[in-house]
Structure formats: C-alpha cells, structure tokens
C-alpha cells in the first residue's frame, strides 16, 4: 500500500499558482484549516481528479473540466496536478490545457498501475457523501455497497436474469399463444361441451360422438381417425356427395374465419399505426437505440479503467475519457425512456404481424384447397390477390418498423380488406346454399355434420397443442429464470452478508468508540427484506432500523464516517491514505475528540489528510495530534494569487518568479518583506505593540523594520547601523507603504532592487547553510553573540 509524498496543484480550482503540499519523507498526516470558501477542498478535488479522472460533486452538476481551471487562468496556463507517492519514482502529472484536453504522464508503468489500483479504493470522504449514502433506499445501498466491495458482477448477473425474465413474459409470441389457448378452450366447450386439450381426449370424444353411428373402427390414433372418417362417409348413399357436403361445410367455416381474421388485421393495424408513426418522428434517436448496448458496454469498460488512453476507444480520435463517459451516460438515460416507447410499439407490431400471418395463410388456403370448385372462382381469384396484398402489408410493416418510416395511409388497404370480408361473407352463404342443393338424406346430413364436427375438433386440438407447446417452452424458460433468480438472490444475500459481517465488526467497534454509553450500540450492516442493505442497531436494548428512526444528525454522521473508515481499512488495496473533508460539522467537541482518538488509535499507520473550516476544531486537532507527528497548515485565499498553503518567504519568492513580467508583484514583494521580517523579529524576540488576535498578524513592514532597528540599537548597535536598513527605508516599497493598497506598482528594475534589499536583510540574520534565523536565545558560548541553529551565522548581542 502507498501514501502521499508530495502534491502540487497549479491553475487548478482555487489554486492560481503553485499550491505545494509536502507530506515529508515520513509521509505524515496533515490537518488543513481554511475559512469557508478559502478553497481548501481544492486539495481533495486535486487528488480525486488525479486518481479518478473526475470530481464527482462537480461532474454530477454537469460542471466538468472547465470547472477545474482557475477562474483567472489564461490560454497559456496549463492546469496541473502533480502527485508523488511513497516509493521510488512513483509520481505523475495530470494536465488540462486551455482547450480542456487532458493528458497524463507517469514516471513509469508501475506508477500508472498504482494509480489505476488506487482508483478502485475509497480514499476520500466529503460531508455530502455521508448524507447521500444514508438517504439512499435499501436497494440503492445494496448496489453501492456491492460496488464498493467489487461485487458489480453479482449485481449485473442478477439484473440480466431479472430483466430477461420480465421481457420474456411480455413477448407477443407468448402472450398471443396464451390468449389463443383460452379462445380454443372456449371453442372446444362450444363444439364438444368440454375442453379438449390432448389428442387422447380428442380420440375419446370422437368415439363418443361417433357412437350412434356404430362404427367398427375405434378411434385411437391418427390412422384410425382417418379410417373412421372413411367408414362414416361410406354409410351414406353416395360417399362423394357426403365428401362434397363436407368440403362445402369446411369452406363455409373457412370463409367465416377469414372474415374474422380480416377484422383482426384491421383492428391491429389501427392500434399500431398512430404509435408507430409517432415513434418514426424520433427516427434519428430510435435508430441509435441499436447502439445502446455498445455504448453501455463501452461506458463500463471506461468506468472499469480497462481503457484509459485519452482518446475515443472506438475511433481513436483525441477525446477526454471523462467527458466521453458523461456524454454516453446522458445518452443512455435518454435511450432508456425511448426504449420503453419502442418496446410498446414493438408489441403492437408483433400482434399485427401475427394477425396478417393468420389471414394470409387463410387467404392462400382457398386457392390450395378449393381451386376445383368452379362456382367459387371469384373467391379463389380474389383471395389469391388478397394473399398478395397481405404479403405486401407484412413486408411494409416490417420495413416501416425497421427503417422508422411512417406507414402510408391505410384507407385504400381498408377498402380492400372490407371487400375481401364482404366476399368471404357472401361465399359462406353460397357454400351453405350449395350444400343445401345436394339434398342429403337425414342420415347423410347427420354423417356430414358429425364429420364436420370431428374435423373442427381435430383441427382445434392440433392448433391447441401447437400453441400449448409454444407456451410451455416459454414457461419452462421463465420458470427456470425465476428459480435461478430466487436462488441467486439467496446466494447474493449470503455473499453480501458475509462482507457486511466483515465490515460490521469494524463499524460497530468504531461507532462504539465515537458514542460510548449512549444507548445506541451493536451497530451493524444487515441484509433487510428481500435484498436491501441497512444499518441495524440496538436502541435502548431493542434491535431496530433504519438509522433515521431514532438517531440524531450527528449520530447519522458518525455512521457514514465509520462505514467509510471500515470499508477503507478492509477493502483498500493500495491507498493507505484518507482524505476527510469537513466531515464533522454536526459533532460537538466531545465527539470530535473521540473521532481524533479513533483515528489515532485505529489508523495510526495510515496517512490522514483532514480538512476543516472550523478554527476551534483545528485547534483541538493540533492539541490532540501534534505529538503524533501531524503537520498543520492553513489555507488562505487571496484574490490575486488564489489559495496559498503558507506565507513563508519561499512561497512569495516562487510567486514573484511566476508572475513577474506578466502580473503586478508589488503586493507579493511587500508580503515577502513582511514574511522575512516576521521570521527575523520572532527569532530575535523583537517587541512590538500589543494587538488582539488576527490583527497581531497584520503588521506592516515599516513597523517591523522600525521595531527591529530599535531592538538592535540596544542589543546589537553595530548591526543596527547596517546599510540595508537605510536602503530599505528609502526603497519604493517602504516609502510607499502607508497602505496595503499601494497605488504605484513596482515594475522592471525596481523589482530587482527590492529583491536585492530583502536578500541583504535575510543574509544578515538568516543562515545560508541551515536556512534558520539567528535567535535571541542562542547565545554563543564565550562570545557576546547569538547565532542560528548551526552556529554559522552570528551577530553581536548584548546581555
């Protein structure tokens, strides 16, 4: 695992110029204080962007790369975050140009891999994340926990099974086959007085119906059924007459069915037309639905960090991956809504296609089965044309749906269908009339009727069994999916609970450390309901959930913090550093102290970056953690320079170098002189007038110079006479320092003169070797002098 060695952000968020943060070679923890809006979160943002390629709270509000650049950045300024990690040569620089192109350079492949691994870890916590997690539903919590612990594949598997099962149940082929079974059962009741759903049932019923005819043939299979029909026909005076009557009866029935089927086509067409034409208006978007899976898969590949080059993984043109991912995410969300619309139109289309297919088959059957009936030539010819019309309609519907082109108006088509229906109606009547002209005997009529009934039931059972097979195959599949889903939920929950138990050990222990003896204990995460995740706890000895039920805001806050800490400790693979950004706003002092002790005791070997905007809390952190080797920094914001982490002479020197020739550096020169004087005056114990709190810090260079000379006159008179004091007194900087808003900027050579004066002053009191000032309490033994830490730099000093 690794820690942070150094971080530098420049032209990034609040940092206009370099914002260096050195964690020292010991990779020390650091507490950073900054007033609200001082820009301290720039540090968290910099880490998040460097590692994750995005800053979640900005990206969520659609503020992306543009929001990363400092507001006063010019076109030539490159936004940069440089991070060095613990270990040899593990560093990288991520840059963002003015045209918002991102580039990354790592010291070596090992560093690149390290950053990829850290990307999978949880290393930063902001207050908004805590409240965000607690507000999620139990199901959302399950997904988030699964994501945190790398269980995304489990969630994906579960979702595919559930979505497929749901989609399967809605498929038109299944729903229409199921509906058809019900219709056939009703028809069977009508014809046979019972529901015939098997061949055996049909044979049994056929024998019963044929009983009065005293047939020798017992119907037990298809062959004996055909033999029985022959035997029946032979019982009349003329088997051919019976056969003719039988066919006319079948034709009459077919004509009536055809009429109903044509009506079904018209009705399905009317239901499909308007929604389909509406969908066609969104042709461009609908046609892109086909690439939805491609986009989703690509997005996942980028999210998983499998592809990280700064270009489009498909066309390889330059493109920022974050931006690409966001854009694809937005497109996928819009696609989901359109997909729903598309799916419902597809169901209507499938029903229409089925209706056309049924009517088309029937239309074709007239020519196939009754071409020899001369008196029905018109029916044969017209239904032949009708079959062509229906075939064309079949093609048009599919073409329209696939190409997202609206259907042409159906008026002409409806006229054709109506004409066909009218012809079918008149042909049915004609068949009935012609059957009547055959003048069958009473027995022949009974035989014909029986044969027609048997033929109808035979066809009905055949059709029933065909649809039943379809339904059973569907049902076998979705019952299997349902069982798989139910079984997998148990497996998923057991796997998740095992992880939750692991986390809960730390969660409970950490929470107890934050809130001992507060009637809330045994805090753990548990699978709740079918597959939700929730915090469970004991309140006054009674197990309960959810946390919002009884817990105060600060207790809820604690839950979020301890969950983050427990997750990080158990699951982080590489990041042994944590950034806690303003996370204790609702804590009172006692609980804040407990949090510090929790960090001190449980995370002693971790590196913590703790940011706060509360000075009292910052003071508490200093008192509690100074002895643990923590560093303490204050962020200050300046409208010219952005945010700065310290006001040392070195900081102002680098600022002046960066700005010189481009921006006014007068204030920076003044601050450099003040910072140098403060360092010297502090070390020499120079006395100045008493002032309260922050005002004490705001002393100007002329006051500090004057008081320094005053002290030197009594303690080191020769030093007080050094020319640097008269040079400084006469310099533009001191001469014009009546106010901090010096109206006359120092430019050109004057900058060099001021810098030389400051260098001379520093050289007099600050050691060139150890870089420490001469101190009033560092007496040189045997000499009336004081020195710096190493003893190299000395000045005269009276006791």
């Amino acid at each position: 695992m690794t820690k942070l060695r150094h971080l530098n952000a420049a032209a990034f968020r609040g940092a206009r110029f370099d914002l260096p943060l050195d964690f020292t070679k010991d990779h020390r923890s650091v507490a950073i204080y900054g007033e609200n809006a001082a820009g301290k979160s720039t540090i968290t943002d910099a880490l998040e962007w460097f590692v994750n390629d995005k800053v979640e709270h900005l990206w969520r509000d659609d503020c992306k790369q543009e929001a990363l650049r400092h507001a006063q950045c010019g076109d030539g300024d490159i936004t940069q975050v440089k991070i060095a990690f613990q270990g040899q040569e593990l560093s990288g620089t991520k840059s963002l140009s003015a045209d918002l192109k991102t580039s990354v350079a790592y010291s070596n492949d090992a560093c690149e891999q390290l950053v990829k691994n850290i990307n999978e870890d949880n290393f930063y916590l902001r207050h908004a994340q805590i409240t965000g997690f607690l507000a999620k539903t139990k199901g959302e919590k399950r997904k988030q926990i699964a994501s945190i612990i790398g269980y995304d594949e489990i969630v994906q598997f579960r979702d595919v099974i559930q979505q497929t099962k749901n989609a399967l149940q809605k498929e038109a082929a299944y729903t229409s086959a199921k509906a058809r079974l019900d219709q056939l059962k009703s028809k069977s009741m009508e014809l046979a007085g019972e529901q015939l759903t098997t061949k055996a049932g049909f044979y049994h019923k056929a024998n019963a119906l044929a009983g009065p005819m005293a047939l020798k043939t017992a119907i037990a299979d298809e062959k004996s059924y055909e033999d029985a029909l022959k035997e029946l026909r032979a019982k009349g005076s003329d088997p051919q007459k019976i056969k003719a009557a039988e066919r006319l009866g079948q034709l009459e029935k077919s004509c009536n069915s055809f009429k109903d089927e044509l009506e079904a086509v018209k009705s399905a067409l009317a239901a499909f037309e308007a929604p389909n034409n509406e969908l066609c208006k969104e042709k461009e978007n609908v046609s892109k639905l086909r690439i939805g899976e491609f986009l989703a898969k690509g997005n996942q590949i980028i999210a998983d960090g499998i592809y990280s080059d700064p270009n489009c993984p498909f066309c390889l043109s330059d493109y920022d991956l974050d931006q690409l991912q966001q854009e694809v995410g937005t497109r996928l969300a819009a696609m989901a809504a359109l997909q729903q619309k598309f799916d419902s139109v597809k169901v209507l289309k499938d029903k229409l296609i089925e209706a056309i297919t049924n009517a088309g088959r029937r239309a074709k059957s007239f020519g196939d089965d009754y071409a020899d009936l001369d008196t029905f030539k018109k029916l044969i010819t017209e239904t032949g044309g009708g079959a062509d019309t229906l075939r064309q309609l079949f093609k048009d519907i599919n073409k329209s749906f696939e190409a997202f082109e609206p259907l042409p108006t159906s008026d002409t088509l409806n006229v054709k269908l109506d004409d066909l229906a009218a012809l079918a109606d008149s042909s049915a009547e004609q068949a009935q009339e012609e059957a009547g002209k055959l003048k069958l005997t009473e027995q022949e009529e009974a035989i014909t009727k029986l044969i027609a009934t048997l033929a109808s039931l035979h066809e009905l059972v055949g059709t029933y069994l065909r649809h039943d097979t379809t339904v059973k195959r569907y049902q076998a599949q979705f019952l299997t999916l349902e069982k798989i889903f139910d079984a997998f939920i148990k497996v998923q929950n057991e796997a998740l609970q095992a992880v939750l138990d692991k986390i809960s050990g730390d969660v409970g222990a950490f929470y107890a450390k934050l809130h001992p003896k507060e009637n809330v204990d045994k805090v753990r995460l548990r699978m709740i309901g079918e597959e939700g995740v929730e915090f469970e706890y004991s309140f006054h000895g009674n197990p309960t959930q959810p946390p919002q039920k009884y817990l105060s805001e600060s207790h809820l806050n604690s839950l979020g913090i301890v969950l983050f800490l427990a997750n990080a400790r158990i699951f982080n693979k590489k990041a042994r550093f944590l950034v806690l950004d303003d996370i204790v706003t609702s804590f009172d002092t006692g609980h804040r102290r407990r949090l510090l002790r929790l960090l001190k005791e449980e995370f002693a070997d971790w590196q913590i970056v703790l940011l706060t905007h509360e000075s009292v809390w910052f003071d508490l952190i200093k008192r509690e953690l100074r002895e643990s080797g923590w560093l303490f920094k204050e962020v200050k914001a300046d409208s010219d320079n952005g945010i700065l982490l310290d006001e040392s002479p070195a900081t102002f020197r680098s600022l002046i170098e960066a700005k010189r020739g481009k921006l006014d550096v007068t204030n920076d020169l003044r601050k450099l002189l003040e910072a140098t004087l403060k360092e010297i005056c502090y070390a020499l114990e120079v006395k100045v007038a008493f002032r309260f709190n922050d005002v004490n810090e705001r002393r100007m260079a002329d006051e500090l110079t004057s008081q320094l000379r005053s002290t030197l006159k009594s303690k080191s008179p020769e030093t007080a006479k050094h020319s640097v004091f008269s040079d400084l007194a006469g310099s533009t900087l001191i001469a014009n320092l009546g106010s901090h808003d010096n109206p006359e900027p120092i430019v050109g050579e004057d900058i060099d003169v001021v810098l030389e004066d400051i260098d001379k002053l520093a050289a007099l009191f600050i050691c060139g070797k150890c870089n420490r000032p001469v101190r009033a309490d560092a007496n040189v033994p045997g000499e009336k002098k004081v020195s710096c830490s190493c003893g190299h730099c000395k000045i005269d000093w009276k006791d």
Partner: protein, 71 residues
C-alpha cells in the same frame, strides 16, 4: 478484493452456475445458455433473449449446444 475470506464476485457467480448444472427442476437449455454467454463475457439481456428464442425453436430432442455467434 483485499480479504481472502471473502469470495470474489466472479467466484460467487461461477459457483452458483455450477450448482445449477443438472438440476432436474430447471430447463437445461436455459441454464446452458446463461452459462455459455457468461463464459463468453456476453451475458446481456438482449443476447440472452436471442439465445432463448433459438432454444425454443430447437428440436427438444437435440443435445444442448454450446454458445456462439451473439453480439
């Protein structure tokens, strides 16, 4: 996963699918199709629906086939 006691997501799903093999109360073709698509890294709703459609059309007596040919 940092912790060895906790199974990886891949193992959880693999072990689960292995446990389904041969279950008498499940449609063997459906189980085989899910496993095959997962092995190919193609387990999506669309691919599974396509595979199930082919399964329904297949001769019930035909042996269960291995996966292949999906997007």
């Amino acid at each position: 996963m940092a912790d060895k006691e906790i199974k990886s997501a891949k193992d959880v799903v693999s072990e689960f699918l292995e446990s389904l093999a041969g279950s008498a109360d499940l449609d063997a073709r459906t189980v085989a199709s899910i496993s095959a698509l997962r092995d190919e890294g193609k387990l999506t709703k669309t691919n599974l629906l396509r595979r199930l459609e082919a399964d329904r059309a297949a001769d019930p007596a035909a042996p269960v086939q291995e996966a292949g040919g999906d997007d």
